[in-house]
């Protein structure tokens, strides 16, 4: 066992939102929780009369220990994307009107430094660590930590989209602020 996949949720939203703000909020969340942020994919299709289509894959990773590493992947897909100028509190602001789908998933990776690769003996040692000695840490301790952290990110995105169900009762589960 080298990876434990953590299931995430899907958010679909149709309406007006601040895309730049959402981007910024996600990056800020990464900084707060000490995750590296990478934009793995950026696809932009030639706009049709209905609007543009964009596909973005954000990858976030954090080294938890010398052996375990967290990965979070956020896949965004936007359709019929148009920019709308609105006046809020007397100031002009550009918002995005689109159909948006966000998929969040994660995984806990073991032996990210690849120290246990190269020989069969090392591979057996790694299996011993992940399947027996550190099994609880791998699946429960770090698995749960990433799982609930992902729900915190999920709630942050919902809050940013001003969705009605932006609430997470489990927010304090990890005793973190966000």
């Amino acid at each position: 066992m080298t990876k434990v996949s953590i299931p995430g949720g899907t958010i679909r939203y149709n309406g007006l939102f601040d895309f730049d703000g959402l981007y910024q909020a996600t990056v800020d969340w990464c900084k707060t929780h000490r995750y590296w942020f990478h934009e793995e994919t950026y696809k932009h299709k030639v706009p049709s009369p209905m609007g543009a289509e964009q596909e973005l894959w954000w990858k976030m990773d954090a080294k938890v220990t010398e052996f375990f590493k967290f990965h979070i992947q956020v896949k965004l897909h936007l359709w019929e994307m148009t920019e709308v100028e609105v006046i809020k509190d007397g100031k002009k602001k550009i918002l995005t009107n689109a159909r948006l789908q966000i998929e969040i998933s994660g995984k806990v990776e073991a032996d990210w430094q690849k120290k246990f690769e190269g020989s069969k003996f090392r591979s057996i040692l790694k299996t011993l660590l992940t399947d027996y000695i550190w099994k609880k840490e791998f699946t429960t301790v770090y698995g749960d930590m990433l799982y609930y952290r992902m729900w915190n990110l999920h709630t942050l995105i919902k809050k940013y989209l001003d969705m009605q169900t932006a609430w997470n009762e489990y927010a304090g589960y990890l005793r973190e602020n966000t």
């Binding site: 299931p7 949720g9 899907t10 958010i11 679909r12 939203y13 149709n14 309406g15 007006l16 159909r99 799982y147 729900w151 999920h154 919902k158 989209l161 969705m163 009605q164 169900t165 932006a166 609430w167 997470n168 009762e169 489990y170």
Partner: protein, 177 residues
């Protein structure tokens, strides 16, 4: 695939009128937190239409009872034509939601959650025999646990919306404009 047995099949609840949407979501999340369940929000779909907001939720909270059993409640919630209204109660204005709600509950007991007993046809057969004849009491205990939690959730849901039904009959008045 571990085996999932359907315990409650599509228990429905519908409501139309005034309610607090965020309050209901908090009720669901709070209930599962209180009962030590794990949250899993598979889908959250919100879109704005000229008649109001449509929100579709698919929640799959679960609880690992033992190394072998896991219980799930699948909740599908549909909020239709939700609009914000301002209501007056005792002279004070409160913001609430108005629209239609449809909720469907399904409950499952999942056995062999680590899929350890399906690596060969013999193990599969052994699992089935053990489940049906030797460990039936264990299964019934888990099922009882699931039903007890589900009944409480269902009662809380009904009372949550009934409160607003009661309000609509007299205590609240929709503010003009």
């Amino acid at each position: 695939m571990s085996e999932k047995k359907l315990v409650v099949d599509q228990t429905k609840f519908t409501y139309e009128g005034l309610f607090d949407l965020n309050g209901f979501y908090r009720l669901l999340d709070g209930f599962f937190y209180e009962k030590n369940w794990d949250r899993y929000e598979k889908m959250n779909h919100e879109f704005v239409t000229p008649t109001g907001k449509h929100i579709r939720l698919e929640l799959w909270p679960f609880k690992n009872i033992t190394d072998y059993y896991r219980i799930h409640i699948k909740i599908r919630v549909n909020f239709m034509d939700v609009i914000k209204v301002e209501v007056e109660k005792d002279g004070a204005k409160i913001k609430m939601d108005k629209g239609k709600v449809s909720i469907i509950f399904d409950c499952y007991v999942e056995s062999d959650r680590y899929q350890r007993w399906e690596k060969s046809p013999f193990l599969w057969f052994l699992r089935t025999m053990m489940d049906r004849h030797v460990f039936k009491e264990h299964y019934l205990k888990v099922q009882k646990w699931l039903l007890s939690d589900f009944e409480e959730l269902h009662t809380r849901t009904k009372s949550f919306f009934n409160v607003y039904r009661h309000y609509e009959r007299g205590q609240f008045t929709v503010a003009p404009g």
